[in-house]
Symmetry: C2
Subunit: 308 residues, 2 copies
């Protein structure tokens, strides 16, 4: 099934303890699309770039069969630019510079050919814009939403309106606690599901992720990556892998959602191995399926015989 | 097989957002022994209490078949007392009072009848005292060590001598990072295993635990406890459940270590449901086996059919 991805396309300046890049392709829609492209052939990207966007970055997305009809080129300004520096432990970062540029006036227009898309990924943008996307698509089968503390704090009512229209919310643990105003993640998950989305994924970085559905909880660890070079985009990559798998299989059972969470984790675990999108350019099917098996091996709880 | 437990026996004053107890039975050896008592009948406790130790607390330990021949009663002073207050999110706490009392001069003497014990649990005490215990036991089969940042910072050389003589170290994530001087837990685990213990468990509180052995990593989530009343003793309870299972089965294969980690997690998940040791007094076998199955269900990664 087709996947529609709406979000930011950006240039990132990234500094980690292991190196530095001044300007590399980034943005939520970029990472989501690249990750999803390993599962489905018709990923459709809606976003905006400026007059400085490189042809070779267009080519990279095209090489992964990402449809760019919905990528607006706004010649009046530059592409969204973000610069950040990760701390020693890679679990936190400082934003050094944010230039919204053409992204500030981003108005998502869904091309006619995209309006029948069945699997919709709403990357982290203003909640009212996320709803505007939903207003333009006809009969989507599954809508996944990302958001962040900025909108939880500054646009809570708008966000709640959007939440009531999606199937799945994917956020991190601190965002979940803030949105639900509840420190216990299990309770927070229930409160958030009461806001609309029938299911919820809480991302916990190096501690993996939790999936909450009607039937209960599923916990997946993070892959034990020894050399994490750059965490940028890992969450978006997770989302792309998750949605890509669901769209490929068109199976929304809880069991298949679990598989989606594992495939999302697989993609994220590759993402962090190199700077920016580098590692997402040419993975093989075998890379992905082998790591899925590794996840299974790492978290396998053996049965036991006999009485206690 | 027999289990020897050496550590503190204490009274705790505990305050959480959900309530307060002024004085309740605590201490690492207490929690370890109670948890292990659900798996083996011959748990032997070595520790010290003062002249204020209650008969009913003795009786509680005896009711779980914990052998108290090695519990010294020092009439010259009072029992170790600790008082702490947990923060709103239960992930951190402030120590309000620590009175070492008779524990300050604790000199572990292993009764002759205990010296052939096969499974040894060295609770969190001074590293040189932990070695003194090992000097008194004959041919132990499996030695598990706990420690804390206080010894990592203040007695590093002594701790490293002790580490070279144990099979398993169980510590939390911040302690592992500090001991290895390495923020990446996967790398830290390798560095710590190079110090002596062939295997290592890193406890991550609400994020579960990781087991590192020669054959790789095993990740178990935390049980999704909705109402955590009191985290005190959860780590020690984990250790007791882990070692109890190993001693009961006398099987040190990696597969069985995994089971031990799950049983440890099961016991810890019960521990936090009530204040102090309350929940550890009368669990049933079915409570334990049912929750083991729940852990398996929560972390089960489904297979998938077909090609990507």
């Amino acid at each position: 099934m087709s996947v529609l991805v709406v979000g930011s396309v950006a240039y990132d300046g990234i500094e980690t303890p292991f190196g530095k890049v001044d300007r590399t392709l980034g943005g939520s829609a970029t990472y989501i699309s690249l990750a999803a492209s390993y599962f489905v052939n018709n990923v459709r990207l809606v976003g905006v770039v400026g007059n400085d966007f490189n042809e070779q970055d267009m080519d990279l997305l095209k090489s992964r069969n990402v449809d760019l009809e919905g990528l607006q080129v706004d010649e009046s300004g530059k592409t969204f630019f973000w610069q950040g520096r990760y701390h020693y432990d890679l679990n936190s970062r400082d934003t050094l510079d944010t230039q919204l540029n053409v992204f500030e006036k981003f108005d998502p227009v869904i091309p006619e050919g995209y309006q029948g898309s069945k699997y919709i990924s709403l990357g982290n943008i203003e909640p009212s814009l996320q709803r505007k996307v939903l207003d333009q698509v006809k009969d989507p089968r599954y809508v996944v939403l990302d958001t962040m503390n900025f909108w939880i704090e500054g646009a809570e009512e708008e966000l709640k309106k959007t939440l009531s229209r999606v199937n799945m919310l994917i956020i991190n643990d601190s965002e979940a606690r803030e949105l639900a105003e509840e420190p216990n993640l299990i309770k927070a998950a229930q409160l958030i599901r009461d806001m609309g989305p029938s299911s919820l994924i809480i991302k916990k970085g190096e501690h993996g992720a939790l999936l909450f559905t009607e039937s209960g909880v599923f916990s997946v660890p993070a892959y034990p990556v020894v050399d994490i070079f750059d965490p940028t985009g890992a969450g978006d990559t997770f989302m792309g892998g998750f949605l890509g798998w669901l769209a490929d299989t068109n199976d929304l059972s809880d069991t298949n959602l679990r598989r989606g969470v594992v495939f999302g984790s697989v993609m994220a675990s590759y993402c962090v191995e190199e700077f920016g999108t580098s590692r997402l350019k040419n993975l093989s099917r075998q890379d992905i399926t082998m790591r899925y098996s590794e996840f299974k091996r790492i978290s396998e709880i053996p049965t036991y015989n006999g009485e206690l």
